[in-house]
């Protein structure tokens, strides 16, 4: 089911032009719709003028020639196609965005929910559509119900399928205090939950609004580019107007259609046509990465990032640590340690606990006491003792029901922790008590500390690993080496970030030695060990005080202030509501390493806009050389010397116009996909792109116009 769903929400490839897009692009040619794009509106107006010239050349004395009717028709047609290419690009980008919005809306499906009304002490269930729910309402979620809107669990434990949002098919266990996300589905059991957000305030709704609204607020950068376009349009309008005047007063007999062709060729039609789709497709691209942005502005700001705060866990390393080695103390062997670890971890659902069992199992250390595990007493992990463990045989404590699911995080365990006296209950003679935990915590409960205890622990930390101590019946038997497993590619990603002039800072709760070693391994120079969630806020504040742009990720409520303050805040979907509200982007897949992709995408967006603008302006140089020799050919033939390309006098204008039009659809893929770039420094990117789009932008039209000219004259 989940594969079908994830297929459903993946943005469909839209490079193929569907009939709907085609019709939409034609509708957009209406002058009333084109007003939003002044450059293209002018192109359309010139189409009407030249079309009129084609129909009745006599109506344009001194400006048109009745023998050129067919030529006027051709020019008019190309002008119309130019405008159409622009609306086509808009229609494509918008259909792509609509698909995004639709797949998002599926997450916000209108569902009927079971609202709980408490009247006179009795509970009553009222079916209510999700749009009528408000913050604070209580709802009942039973098996197979769809969660109507983001809510927080108050009662009950249940398995919930969040695959619609994350694309991951594992069911997630939800207990009181956890957030359930609108659109996810309850697979088992019953929950009572409190609505945490009003229907139109969800981040998904914010993104739908942004994508769908045709009056999407322009980002500051988009506004500035628009001003350049309007300025250039004004300059060329004055120039062509003056040129028309000169032609009339000096009797230079310029043909109006050629003058208009020059005008349209000079206008920044390429960037004018593609500007709207560049921004929109940027948001769509982000969504393909399963990131929901609340504003386009945040995406662009991401491109300016100077400092990036990376949480070690989840970003640099895979979730939790993995056990890699058993180190026995004097008098014990590896098997003792392995078996003890096995037993102590049997009830431990954390990835760390599971890795202990896996290692013991792989080494063949399966304890014979396994049968006794069913009747064991479990010491859940407690934050105060920082230990957990098990007491076998003769146990009298209650048994925690082991539902089939997997515990997700320590937070859940922490909530369930039952305080037990430091040192635990006395151990009977027939009982075995195994406790594992932080070395210093175990040190406190064992009867005697082995001489090399501290040395072993020190060595493990120095190597960047984490030590976990094991005790059996209050006797230290050995240490387990837990190692952080680096995410694949993380080293390359960090290199890329550094090459682009961005400073990565690693945030970790580990002690300094471990932090240093991991940071060194992935090539990070700066790290904050033993960090508390509040530290992130301080780092953001400190860096911003030095005018740096800070990007960070976060999930906990503790992260919310820092997320709100950071210039770019990416919240994890698995995180708390507060974090998601404070951030300006949410990653549905809850993969913190994606912050790096967000930064790259922001850069790409700015680069694409600059590249198409530069290219568009640079193109104009060649067009002068194509059209100027023809413009006054009948009166000042000497200007034919400017015809450096050797274009045919009859075909030069059409060639330039065709090039001007055809470059738009040729660049649509670039606008939609973005400029591709290798991570490198700002100056390198600047020079490289200037070479490609600036100097290339001057040269390419010379070649293109010449080729088109040759092709036309062959026809």
């Amino acid at each position: 089911m989940s594969t079908r769903l994830s297929k459903m929400i993946s943005v469909r490839r839209t490079t193929l032009i569907s009939r709907k897009v085609l019709i939409d692009s034609l509708v957009r040619l209406s002058p009333l719709r084109l007003i939003a794009n002044p450059v293209m509106l002018i192109v359309e107006i010139t189409f009407f003028i030249v079309a009129a010239m084609a129909l009745d050349p006599e109506a344009f004395p001194r400006l048109a020639n009745s023998s050129l009717q067919i030529f006027y028709g051709e020019v008019a047609l190309i002008l119309l196609i130019t405008a159409w290419f622009s609306t086509l690009s808009d229609a494509l980008a918008e259909s792509q965005a609509k698909n995004t919005a639709n797949s998002l809306r599926r997450l916000e499906m209108e569902v009927s929910s079971k609202k709980i009304l408490i009247e006179a002490g009795s509970r009553r269930i009222v079916p209510t559509p999700s749009r009528d729910l408000r913050t604070g309402d209580l709802i009942l979620l039973e098996k197979n119900d769809t969660v109507p809107i983001d809510a927080q669990v108050l009662e009950g434990i249940a398995m919930v399928d969040e695959s619609l949002l994350t694309g991951e098919s594992t069911a997630v266990r939800k207990a009181p205090g956890d957030d359930v996300i609108g659109g996810s589905q309850v697979l088992s059991d019953t929950l009572t939950a409190k609505i945490t957000v009003n229907p139109d305030e969800t981040f998904i709704n914010q993104m739908i609004r942004m994508v769908e609204s045709s009056k999407r607020p322009k980002t500051p950068n988009e506004q500035a580019v628009t001003i350049v376009l309007i300025g250039l349009t004004a300059i060329f309008t004055i120039l062509i107007g003056a040129l028309l005047g000169v032609s009339l007063v000096l009797s230079l007999a310029a043909d109006l259609s050629v003058l208009i062709a020059l005008y349209v060729c000079l206008l920044p039609t390429t960037i004018g046509a593609l500007l709207p789709s560049i921004g929109l497709s940027g948001i769509s691209r982000l969504y393909k990465e399963k990131i929901v942005a609340k504003s386009g502005r945040a995406v662009e700001t991401a491109g300016d990032t100077d400092v990036i705060l990376l949480d070690k866990t989840g970003t640099i390393t895979v979730g939790n640590r993995q056990a890699v080695e058993f180190l026995p103390f004097l008098g014990f062997n590896e098997r003792d340690v392995g078996e003890a670890a096995f037993l102590a971890s049997w009830h431990d659902d954390t990835p760390e606990g599971r890795s202990l069992i896996r290692l013991a199992y792989e080494d063949g250390f399966v304890p014979k006491e396994m049968n006794a595990l069913d009747a064991s007493e479990v010491y859940e992990f407690s934050a105060s003792t920082r230990t957990s463990g098990v007491k076998l045989a003769g146990g009298t404590g209650f048994m925690l029901p082991k539902s089939g699911g997997t515990g997700r995080e320590r937070g859940r365990l922490r909530r369930k922790f039952e305080p037990h006296v430091e040192g635990g209950v006395p151990i009977g003679s027939d009982e075995t008590e195994i406790i594992k935990g932080a070395p210093d915590a175990i040190k406190k409960i064992v009867k005697s500390v082995p001489g090399d205890y501290d040395k072993v622990v020190q060595e493990i930390s120095a190597a960047g690993d984490t030590a976990m101590a094991l005790s059996r019946n209050r006797e230290a038997i050995g240490i387990v080496r837990l190692r952080d497993v680096l995410k694949p590619d993380i080293r390359e990603k960090i290199m890329a970030v550094k090459v682009m002039g961005i400073r990565p800072v690693m945030i970790t709760g580990d002690q300094p030695l471990t932090a240093k070693s991991i940071a060194a391994e992935v090539g990070i120079d700066e790290y904050q060990p033993e960090a508390k969630p509040e530290d992130k806020y301080d780092i953001v504040k400190r860096e911003q005080a030095e005018t740096r742009i800070v990007a960070m990720i976060g999930d906990g409520t503790n992260d919310a202030p820092a997320l709100a303050m950071a210039d770019v805040g990416l919240a994890m979907n698995s995180g708390t509501q507060a974090a998601k509200e404070a951030a300006n982007m949410v990653d549905l897949e809850s993969n913190p390493a994606k912050i790096i992709e967000v930064v790259m995408l922001g850069k790409q967006l700015l680069m694409t806009r600059g590249a198409v603008t530069t290219f568009s302006i640079a193109n104009d140089v060649a067009k002068y050389f194509a059209i100027m020799p023809v413009l006054f050919a009948s009166t000042v033939p000497e200007l034919k010397a400017l015809n450096v390309l050797g274009l045919g006098l009859n075909t030069a204008v059409l060639s330039a116009l065709i090039f001007n039009a055809i470059i738009i659809p040729l660049l649509i893929p670039l606008a939609m996909r973005g400029v591709t770039f290798k991570p490198s420094g700002t100056m390198t990117l600047f020079l490289k792109n200037t070479m490609i789009y600036g100097i290339g932008g001057v040269i390419i039209p010379f070649v293109g116009i010449k080729l088109i000219d040759v092709a036309i004259s062959l026809l």
Binding site: V225, L685, F686
Partner: protein
């Protein structure tokens, strides 16, 4: 003062000074120090001339020495060719040459102040203005005047002298306070000479030494201001794009003017200094938008004129006093924005992020020039004003009219037409063009500088390095593309066409 107050103060002071000069021009006939008895200027000519001098343009629709029927008394003038009294030359022309040059330096510094870290305002115009005059212009001009006198330039109030030549004929020697005027006119990139023939007249430019000295004076302050920019903002490296950009374009101008295989100097040429110095002077005088001439423009070949257009259309090579730096900053902001976007960061200059408003100010400042050059050029023909003074509709005639308004808009002041353009149309149209060409960009670029005050400044230096040679190269490229795109068709109908026609028909 914030930028608005500063701009308003500069504008009001300038207008008041122009009004004073207007009175002197209009009533010079009844005012003292008029040994030749020149009559007052017509109101439209006086209006045009005060704006011309007040805007640092110095377009002259008169001949300073007069064109008299009966020398040495000039009460009877040849029609349409007025002259100026000693009082007008000193109290109106020189006075405005000092104040307009000082104003240029002041507004440039006021704009630069916006870019200085921790600056609170644009400065105080009155303080800046007084200090510029007393600490820079007066001392420099005093020294320069003495040098000119030493080189043989007259400085006297005795009136025109009649002497007997060796052959025994009587000759009138047209002397006056020339040295003091020549010094400020070159140093202040004004360009309005004492004589109608400007520095082609032997008394204003007696020998090669005075010629080279005048070229030096023209470039002195505009070049210095490039360094002032880096000095003031506390990052001397940032002088580089301005200086390198300016001089790379200047070198390009020289290259165009001295294109091999084609003669640079034509017939009817003032040959005292020879072709090289005539052409070099022309390139310098337009590159620094001074507008003084040491040769007749009509005798120069089309490519030299094309090079002259280049200087006036760019206005930053190194450009006029003060405004040259302002224009270069405008071009840098525009380049950093358009091309700099491709670095993948929000464009920034000197750590200041470029906002939509900055781009708007810069685009409007850039737009002013084509409007005030192209529109009146067409109007000059369509109203018949060009035909009325005998300018033809061929490429040579078109070049003259196009040059007139380009020179007026760039506040340069060199021209083909001279006193022949003393008609109400040319006087009023050029006056409007000069005024807008001067004060509109100054106001807009002051606003640009003003808006930088208190703006969050990035100290990370992670953006595009504007102090690198490659950036200077890209800057030059984008200036050429932007300026040529705007004016190419007009240049093609003027000097470029003249060049092609010359190649076919002979020069």
């Amino acid at each position: 003062m914030d930028w608005k107050e500063y701009f308003l103060a500069a504008l009001i002071v300038n207008i008041f000074q122009m009004a004073l000069a207007f009175v002197i021009f209009a009533f010079q006939g009844v005012l003292p120090l008029n040994p030749q008895g020149f009559p007052g200027l017509s109101w439209d000519l006086a209006f045009m001339q005060v704006i011309s001098f007040g805007t640092n343009t110095n377009l002259q629709h008169y001949s300073g020495e007069g064109n008299c029927v009966q020398l040495p008394n000039c009460t009877a003038l040849r029609p349409g060719v007025p002259g100026l009294s000693y009082l007008s030359q000193m109290m109106a022309v020189q006075f405005l040459q000092f104040t307009s040059a000082a104003t240029g330096i002041c507004v440039a510094v006021a704009m630069i102040r916006g870019f200085i870290i921790h600056s609170k305002d644009s400065g105080n115009f009155y303080v800046d203005f007084t200090r510029t005059l007393t600490r820079i212009l007066f001392p420099l001009c005093f020294v320069a005047s003495l040098v000119f006198v030493g080189l043989g330039v007259p400085q006297t109030l005795t009136g025109y002298q009649i002497t007997k030549t060796v052959e025994g004929a009587a000759q009138t020697i047209l002397v006056g306070p020339v040295a003091s005027l020549a010094s400020i006119m070159q140093l202040g990139t004004n360009g309005g000479g004492y004589y109608g023939a400007n520095s082609a007249y032997p008394f204003q430019n007696p020998n090669p030494a005075s010629d080279v000295f005048q070229i030096f004076l023209m470039l002195l302050i505009p070049t210095t201001l490039c360094f002032v920019f880096g000095q003031l903002i506390g990052k001397k490296r940032e002088t580089r794009p301005i200086l390198w950009g300016a001089y790379a374009l200047f070198a390009l101008d020289l290259l165009i003017a001295f294109t091999p295989n084609f003669p640079v100097v034509g017939p009817g040429m003032e040959v005292r200094f020879g072709g090289f110095f005539s052409v070099f002077w022309t390139v310098v005088t337009t590159a620094a938008t001074t507008g003084s001439v040491n040769t007749s423009l009509s005798g120069l070949y089309p490519l030299v004129i094309l090079s002259a257009f280049n200087g006036m259309l760019i206005q930053a090579t190194p450009g006029g006093k003060g405004v040259g730096v302002m224009y270069m900053v405008m071009f840098i902001v525009l380049t950093v924005f358009i091309v700099g976007l491709m670095s993948g960061r929000t464009p920034e200059y000197l750590g200041l992020k470029i906002t939509a408003r900055d781009v708007k100010l810069v685009m409007i400042a850039f737009l002013v020039h084509p409007v005030i050059v192209l529109v009146p050029t067409v109007l000059a023909y369509s109203t018949g004003a060009a035909g009325a003074i005998g300018v033809g509709t061929n490429s040579i005639g078109f070049t003259k009219i196009f040059y007139e308004f380009t020179s007026a808009a760039a506040n340069n002041g060199s021209d083909f037409l001279g006193a022949t353009a003393n008609t109400p149309f040319f006087n009023i149209s050029t006056a409007i063009v000069m005024f807008l060409g001067r004060f509109a960009p100054i106001g807009l670029l002051l606003a640009l500088g003003g808006s930088m005050i208190n703006r969050k400044r990035l100290t990370t230096e992670a953006g595009v390095r504007t102090d690198s040679p490659l950036f200077a190269l890209i800057l030059v490229g984008s200036i050429l593309v932007l300026v040529l795109l705007t004016f190419f068709p007009f240049l093609a109908l003027g000097p470029i066409l003249e060049f092609f026609q010359g190649r076919v028909n002979g020069f």
